[in-house]
Amino acid sequence: MNPQLLAVAVENLPGIVSLLKSAFAKQHPDQPQPTGAEIMAAYEQAFREDLAADDAYLNSHPA
């Protein structure tokens, strides 16, 4: 373990917490539920954004 590894852990901790929160979040019955269309649109947008991010990273970081 070294400070760089800690930096990686700290940098990615918010993403991990967010991941776990979304995995464990229980919907309260009174809470407004997203519609099916909203869920599908959010996924499609995230999919496109992640693909674009991968392509941008690979283009800007030749090995």
């Binding site: 993403g15 979304s22 269309a37 996924y43 999919f47 090995a63």
Partner: protein, 154 residues
């Protein structure tokens, strides 16, 4: 007032003591322990039940809900690999390989063909096996977390 000042002083001394006594190594171990604890809590909590898709949204939206969750777990691995490359912990080649794997994996999830979950998990485990051991050790805790979440995806 004097009491408050002494209290503040004590707090300040404790902070300074902790700052000195907690070496980078100790703090780094704490970071890894936190990640492992998160993985363990994910395992334990998922065994008791993961949040499910909202009811009454239909099959395509339910599938999208779980595909989105799977993609987020995979993206976390890519982010860690890219951060590790930026810190010089893994080679740029490794970060690029994981990024290419991530791209292929999220396309597989998006296509949602039969058995996509096992396909993605197997490809992830194979990708990690190809890494040098020192680099694989860095991503393994995150991979374990992602695999746990993927196995819970319906």
């Amino acid at each position: 007032m004097g009491h408050v000042d002494r209290g503040w002083l004590r707090g300040d001394l404790v902070t300074r003591y902790l700052s000195r006594s907690l070496s980078n190594r100790t703090v780094a171990r704490t970071g890894l322990a936190l990640i492992l604890a998160l993985s363990l809590s994910a395992n334990l909590t998922l065994s008791t039940g993961c949040a499910s898709a909202p009811p009454n949204i239909g099959q395509p939206a339910t599938a999208a809900f779980y595909q989105h969750r799977a993609q987020d777990a995979l993206t976390q691995i890519r982010n860690v690999a890219q951060s590790a490359a930026a810190q010089g912990l893994v080679s740029q080649q490794t970060a690029n390989d994981i990024t290419r794997w991530h791209r292929a994996a999220i396309v597989t999830v998006h296509q949602a063909s039969a058995g996509w979950r096992e396909t993605v998990i197997t490809s992830l485990q194979e990708a990690v096996k190809l890494l040098p051991e020192a680099e694989a050790k860095i991503v393994r805790p995150y991979v374990a977390l992602a695999v746990t979440l993927l196995r819970e995806v319906n």
